[in-house]
Structures are given as structure tokens and as C-alpha cells.
């Protein structure tokens, strides 16, 4: 390819092919991002736009960062976000892993159809998937009624309920997160599990392992890259989620996305909104680094295997 790349280089086309998307991303992504970082160090003022920078105000104002640790609102919000996202991730894994594994065990023709059924909700509106659960969780819905009857049947009379309070709770947030993000868990897991050599399972069985031992000793260790990938694909967007907690969440215990949005739009405190945003990003960097390291390693292993 060197000849082709060199030609494009000499004629200046290369600079165009790289330069146009590069410039676009710098203008519309990097620059706005740097504005957020700078804004997090600005001072809030009653002007429009509502921030001051230099002049009467300090050039760097770390007050916002201090508030992150002193005002329990932020710490609580971060904690709520991490817990909700963490629980949702674990539940996605517990439900998604057997589903992905099952998908590798069904016949080829079924597999195509079932995979399509996993992806299908993806293509429908995200908002409407959240909305569908609002219909189910409401006090008067058939689903809530069903669960209430079940609850009243198995618990003592004294605990009997009119309906189960599901809407506007963290439970609702987690449930809807699991619902909307489950495909993100299933697909990478399936891709990973599907590539495993079934002969390894057979070898383990041949050597005397029972089905569960085969799973524990052979399948599970090999699927760790898939678990990591799926886990992060669920955890990262879930932690910064705004729509789900706004619609079904507990307003008294907001998640971090809600805080950012409210600081910005309701309180018109741009610096604080930016501070929280930067803090959230810092929290995300850790898991992302793990992910890219795993991915690099997985890809490295693959190319190693492919090359003689």
C-alpha cells in the first residue's frame, strides 16, 4: 500500500482526506469540550452568558471542584449513578450471558431470527422503550396489578398493598436501564462466545467434566473479553443517563446526568454544570482505559493467531 499512500501524499490528497474530518472534529467536538473544561474553572456571574472569566473574577476558580466534595448533593448523585449503573450492569450480565450462550446453541436458521429480535428494539425509538415501561409500571396498569396480586398472595395479610410503588424509584431506573441496554450486553457476548471452538467443550467433557464444570473451566474464562466489553457498553452510558431517571426516576435522589442538566438549564450555573461534567468524565476514564487495554490485547491475540 505504500505506493498508493505515497501517491496520495505527494499529490496532497492525503492531507485533505485526513484534514477535513480532523478539522471538523476539532471545531465541533474538541473545541466545545475544551470550553467545558475552561468553564469548569470560571466563576458564575449574573450576566448573559452567566459566567465570568478574568477581569474582576479570578482566572482560575476552583470553587466548583471544592463544592463537589462539600455539597452532599453531588456526592450523593455520583453514588446513586454508580450504584444504579453498577446494579444494572450486573443484572444485564446475569440475564444477557445465558441469553447469548443460548443463542450460540440454537440452530443456524433460528439464530438469525433470534439475533434480529435482539437487535430490533434497538431500531425502535429509545424514548418509546422507556415509555413502554412507564405504561407497565403505573399504579393502574395490568402489570402492576398482576405483581400486586402476586405479592398479596405470598406475603402475610398485614403487608397487603393496593399497588406496588414502582414509578419514580431507583428500582424503576435500574429496571428500565436493564431493558434498554440489554442488547449492548448480549451482542458483544454473543460475538465472543460464537467464536469459541466447540471442540474445546467436547475436549473438556471428554476429559471428564460435567456440563457446569465445562462452563466454569472452559467457556467462562474465554468469554472474559466479551464480559468486559458488554459491561462497559452498559455501564458507561448508564452512569451518564439522563432520559431514564428523568422519566421514571426518583426526583429526590437524582442521578448525575440530571444534576448536570439541571445546573445548566434550571440553575443557569454553567461553571458548576461543567465542573460536574468534567468530574463525570474523569470517573469514566478509568473504565474506558481498561476497555481499550482489553480490546488492544484481544486484537493483538487475534493477529498473533492469524499470522504464522
Amino acid at each position: 500500500m505504500t505506493a498508493l499512500a505515497q501517491w496520495f501524499h505527494r499529490r496532497g490528497w492525503r492531507d485533505l482526506i485526513i484534514g477535513i474530518p480532523y478539522a471538523w472534529l476539532i471545531l465541533f467536538f474538541l473545541l466545545p469540550f475544551l470550553i467545558v473544561v475552561a468553564m469548569s474553572l470560571a466563576t458564575r456571574t449574573p450576566t448573559a452568558p452567566p459566567f465570568g472569566y478574568g477581569g474582576d473574577n479570578p482566572l482560575i476558580n476552583p470553587a466548583g471542584y471544592a463544592r463537589l466534595f462539600t455539597d452532599s448533593l453531588y456526592l450523593r448523585a455520583f453514588l446513586t449513578s454508580l450504584i444504579n449503573a453498577g446494579v444494572a450492569t450486573v443484572l444485564c450480565l446475569l440475564l444477557g450471558y445465558p441469553m447469548a450462550l443460548a443463542l450460540t446453541r440454537v440452530s443456524k436458521s433460528w439464530r438469525t431470527i433470534l439475533l434480529m429480535l435482539v437487535i430490533l428494539p434497538f431500531w425502535t425509538s429509545f424514548l418509546l422503550r422507556v415509555y413502554a415501561w412507564m405504561g407497565l409500571m403505573g399504579r393502574n396498569s395490568w402489570f402492576n396489578g398482576l405483581l400486586t396480586d402476586l405479592w398479596n398472595l405470598i406475603t402475610p395479610q398485614a403487608w397487603a398493598l393496593q399497588s406496588i410503588p414502582m414509578m419514580n424509584t431507583n428500582f424503576a431506573v435500574v429496571l428500565v436501564m436493564v431493558y434498554t441496554y440489554l442488547p449492548f450486553m448480549i451482542l458483544p457476548l454473543y460475538a465472543n462466545l460464537e467464536r469459541l471452538d466447540p471442540a474445546l467443550d467436547e475436549a473438556a467433557m471428554d476429559l471428564g467434566s460435567r456440563p457446569f464444570q465445562v462452563f466454569r473451566d472452559v467457556t467462562l474464562p474465554q468469554s472474559i473479553p466479551g464480559i468486559i466489553a458488554g459491561g462497559l457498553l452498559v455501564f458507561i452510558p448508564a452512569a451518564g443517563e439522563l432520559v431514564i431517571p428523568s422519566l421514571v426516576g426518583d426526583a429526590a435522589a437524582p442521578m448525575i446526568g440530571r444534576i448536570i442538566s439541571d445546573e445548566f438549564a434550571q440553575a443557569r450555573d454553567w461553571p458548576m454544570a461543567s465542573t460536574v461534567a468534567v468530574a463525570l468524565l474523569v470517573l469514566m476514564v478509568g473504565p474506558t482505559m481498561i476497555y481499550s487495554r482489553f480490546q488492544a490485547r484481544a486484537e493483538g491475540a487475534e493477529t498473533d493467531g492469524a499470522k504464522p
Binding site: 500500500m1 480532523y22 472534529l25 469540550f33 445465558p98 443460548a102 428494539p121 418509546l128 407497565l136 445548566f264
Partner: protein
């Protein structure tokens, strides 16, 4: 492996029930005669009627489609350039930053992308007088930016998979670089371009958060309209709208799946034929 994995199949069934019961319930209740969205009040199609007579919905849908068409097309062009650059130009100045820039939007929480774009547009308006008004343009620009990186990912992956020798073969047979690109590279990565475009299109059509930050007066996309209604609670006409969307998507996906399945079957049959002709 001959034993039926009973546990796995059970979980699979449960999972699909989990996926589809809420959607089915929504569809059923769209035919509910009662004003109260969660209480059954007899069969009725009146919500569909009121939906079709609602000008707002039509306008919002049109706006959403316009934005999605433009932004998906632009995102595909820009994203493909970035994907080709990453796959073909191994070393260039700022490559590390560049590959960072095409991954970061993928993991950036939408709220942050939203407020950063909004602050950017407001400050730009103040500094250079552009954009004068937020709305169609600003939404489209934001959508292009965050959907182009999805296209980049898809195109880059396809480029890495592709046998580079075919480009060399074209050159070797007398094709000049642009002819190589036109005759070989683009046709070979065209499935990736198509799926990248579709991805960008759906992302744009579906986006609420970034759109809600970058929108301006009068620019209400369909998701924004739904968002404003849903925030007030469950309403039957949204059920009707949702059912129509599910139906449309379902039909499209089923058709695409059918076509793909057919093509796959034909390909397999042809391959078998090829092996036989080999004898």
C-alpha cells in the same frame, strides 16, 4: 452437545418476553377506548385518527427526517474519510489525537456532548455572530459530529478486514490511485458505508438529549415532541404513535432480514456449486 440446554432456553424465552411484553402492551393499549392510558376501556382506533389529524406530529416527523437524511449523509462522507485515513495512512502528524477524537464521542455521555455543544453555539454566536439562531442547523451539525464517529468505526473495521492486495492488484493492472479508489476500494467497503449511513440515520432520528440542548425556537423534532408529552405521563396517542413506529421498523427490519437471508442462501448454494465444479 446433544443434550438440550434447558436452562439456557428458559432464560432465552424469559429474555424475549422481557423484550417484547412492554412493546406488545403498548401496542394493545393504543387501541384502548379509555382516556386513561392504563385502564382498558374497549377497542377503539380513535387515537390513530387524532394522531393523523395532528399537524404537529407530521411537522415534527418531517423535520426529524430532514435532519436525519442530511446528517447521515454528511456523517457518512466525513466518517468514511476518517476511517480511510486511519486505516490507510499509518503515520501522520497528530494521529494519536485524531484517533482519540474519533473514539471520544462514542463514550462521552450525551448530556456532556449536549451542554458542550450548546455552550459552543452560544459562545460562537457571541464571538463571531454565528449561528444567529439555534435550530435546524445547530441540531444537524451536532448530529453529524456525534454520528460520524460511528461511521468511522464501521468503515475502519471493514478497511482493516479487506485484503489490501486487491488494491495493489488494481494498481498493478494499470489503475491510477483514483481509479483504484473508485473501482475497488469504494465498492468493497460499500456495505460498511451503507450500514454506517443507516446507523447514523437511526441515531439522528432517535436522539433526544443532544437535540434538546442544541435546538432552538420552532425546531421540534419527533423525539422532542414525544419527550415533551411523555414527561407529563402516559397518554394514549403516544401509544398509537409508538405502535406505528414499531410497525414501520418491524416491517423494514423483517424485509431487510428476508432479503439478506435469501442472498445468504443463494450464496451458500452457489458455493456448493463451486465446489462441485472443482472436481
Amino acid at each position: 452437545m446433544t443434550r438440550r440446554p434447558v436452562f439456557l432456553i428458559t432464560v432465552l424465552c424469559f429474555g424475549f418476553a422481557f423484550f417484547y411484553i412492554p412493546i406488545l402492551s403498548m401496542v394493545v393499549y393504543s387501541f384502548n377506548g379509555s382516556r386513561l392510558a392504563t385502564v382498558w376501556g374497549g377497542f377503539s382506533t380513535k387515537w390513530y385518527v387524532s394522531l393523523f389529524s395532528n399537524r404537529q406530529v407530521g411537522a415534527a416527523l418531517l423535520l426529524s427526517l430532514q435532519i436525519a437524511l442530511i446528517s447521515a449523509t454528511m456523517a457518512t462522507i466525513l466518517g468514511a474519510m476518517a476511517g480511510i485515513a486511519l486505516a490507510r495512512f499509518r503515520r501522520f502528524r497528530g494521529r494519536t489525537l485524531f484517533s482519540g477524537l474519533v473514539t471520544a464521542p462514542l463514550i462521552m455521555p450525551e448530556v456532556i456532548t449536549g451542554i458542550s455543544s450548546l455552550m459552543f453555539f452560544i459562545l460562537m454566536a457571541q464571538w463571531v455572530g454565528w449561528p444567529g439562531q439555534r435550530g435546524f442547523t445547530t441540531i444537524t451539525l451536532a448530529h453529524i459530529t456525534f454520528s460520524m464517529v460511528f461511521v468511522t468505526t464501521v468503515v475502519h473495521a471493514r478497511m482493516l478486514q479487506m485484503d489490501r492486495a486487491i488494491e495493489e492488484a488494481a494498481m498493478d493492472l494499470g489503475a491510477r490511485p483514483w481509479q483504484v479508489l473508485r473501482d475497488v476500494t469504494l465498492p468493497v467497503i460499500s456495505p460498511a458505508l451503507l450500514s454506517g449511513w443507516l446507523l447514523a440515520f437511526t441515531i439522528s432520528l432517535d436522539d433526544v438529549v443532544i437535540t434538546s440542548f442544541t435546538t432552538g425556537p420552532g425546531a421540534t423534532t419527533l423525539p422532542l415532541l414525544i419527550w415533551s408529552k411523555v414527561k407529563l405521563g402516559v397518554t394514549p396517542d403516544i401509544n398509537a404513535l409508538a405502535s406505528l413506529i414499531v410497525l414501520t421498523v418491524g416491517v423494514c427490519v423483517a424485509l431487510a432480514g428476508l432479503v439478506m437471508n435469501r442472498a445468504e442462501k443463494r450464496r451458500l448454494a452457489e458455493e456448493r456449486l463451486a465446489y462441485r465444479s472443482n472436481e
